[in-house]
């Protein structure tokens, strides 16, 4: 027989608050760790021609923090928002493509509130686990009037390199480190 000793109500009542708090803390840590896990790269992303991305800033006609799909469509770089119209940049107008790595807290406002509300500075412990690294893809491109634009995208870690290679293969310019702007302009010979 599966028989367990059930503790008395008084003893249970005394132990519940601490247990609950610990359980809540563990649950929050587990949730944040799950959120922070990087999704595995999709087969399409391995090819580097299409990746899931979040637009941080800079692309005209696209709101900040908009999620969508970044892809190469013919001779243009296309950002298709999850809901709404797509924005395109001709690859030939791209002056520089660079990559970076950033680290940020996941969960947004709900988890931030959860962290703040966690007793015994448990929010700090949650903060240790609830962060995620991601790649940033930075583009510098010229519009039809010659004006310089910059756009930054957030891409899952490990996927930006392949996408950059695909862009370069399609004709996007990349500045070599130490190369000055003057080097790209035609020299005036006497």
């Amino acid at each position: 027989m599966n028989h367990r000793n059930i503790p008395s109500k008084a003893a249970l009542g005394a132990r519940i608050p601490t247990r609950r708090k610990l359980a809540c803390l563990l649950l929050l840590i587990a949730c944040s760790a799950m959120l922070a896990q990087n999704p595995s790269a999709s087969p399409a992303a391995a090819g580097g021609s299409s990746v899931r991305a979040t637009h941080i800033l800079g692309l005209q006609g696209v709101s900040k923090s908009a999620g969508g799909n970044l892809s190469i469509d013919g001779d243009a770089l296309k950002f298709q928002k999850t809901e709404g119209a797509a924005a395109q940049v001709p690859i030939s107008s791209i002056q520089d493509v660079s990559l970076g790595v950033e680290d940020r807290q996941v969960g947004g406002v709900p988890l931030a509130v959860g962290r703040a509300a966690t007793p015994y500075a448990g929010g700090r412990v949650i903060g240790l686990f609830s962060h995620k690294k991601y790649d940033t893809l930075t583009l510098e491109y010229l519009d039809a009037d010659g004006g310089l634009h910059g756009a930054i995208f957030e891409i899952s870690k490990g996927q930006a390199e392949g996408f950059k290679d695909a862009l370069v293969a399609k004709g996007a310019h990349v500045k070599v480190e130490g190369q000055t702007a003057a080097a790209s302009t035609p020299e005036v010979k006497k």
């Binding site: 700090r124 310089l148 910059g150």
Partner: protein, 203 residues
């Protein structure tokens, strides 16, 4: 009792009249440093010069893009041009906003969350407004930091906002005066050149 009520009513009426007069006067007067009806400058935001500082491209681009937004928000300029825009060449009253990074301290959002006191992202830039012929109209050193909440790139937003505020609060010379000063300077330089050449001729 009746006198008290009358006095109170008179006091309230006076206070209301004084307040409404002050408000109307405030609305009528132009904002500090913003001449009403006077010709306005246009501005071209130049590429961010990172100098000797090692700065990620994302930060450089974010400062540039945020500056464009903030310049438009100041409402001090007739038009805001991007770096390299061909249309800017035809604009007579054009100022160029040059930004040079002086100091950058990389931060970490996780460190900020866990420790509160460390992990701040700090940016310090020198910001210059110059005329087409290189005359400096305004020069400021501005900071942009993220100490507690937000991602690292938020420092660029704060920095651009601070630059915008500095420009908003400062008084720019009217376009004609600055251009005239520039032309006077050029004329003086030209006359100095002619003097030196004439001296050389004499010799």
């Amino acid at each position: 009792m009746k006198t008290n009520k009358l006095l109170f009513a008179a006091f309230m009426l006076t206070a209301f009249l004084a307040y409404s007069h002050a408000m109307s006067a405030q609305a009528a007067s132009p904002k500090s440093g913003k001449p009403s009806g006077a010709p306005q400058w246009s501005v071209q935001v130049d590429k961010v010069d990172q100098g000797d500082v090692i700065l990620e491209s994302a930060f450089r681009v974010a400062i540039y893009e945020n500056l464009l937004d903030e310049m438009a928000k100041t409402k001090r300029f007739k038009q805001v041009f991007r770096s390299g825009d061909h249309h800017a060449a035809d604009v007579p009253d054009l100022l160029i906003l040059k930004t040079t990074v002086q100091k950058y301290t990389a931060g970490s959002e996780t460190r900020r969350t866990v420790t509160t006191v460390s992990g701040a992202t700090k940016l310090k830039v020198s910001s210059q407004l110059t005329t087409k012929d290189g005359k400096v109209v305004l020069e400021k050193v501005v900071d942009g930091n993220v100490r507690f909440f937000g991602g690292n790139l938020r420092a660029t937003h704060n920095l651009a906002h601070n630059i915008g505020t500095q420009i908003k609060e400062s008084t720019l010379p009217p376009p004609n005066a600055a251009t005239a000063e520039g032309s006077i300077e050029r004329r003086m330089e030209a006359s100095a050149d002619s003097v030196s050449t004439s001296e050389m001729d004499v010799r």
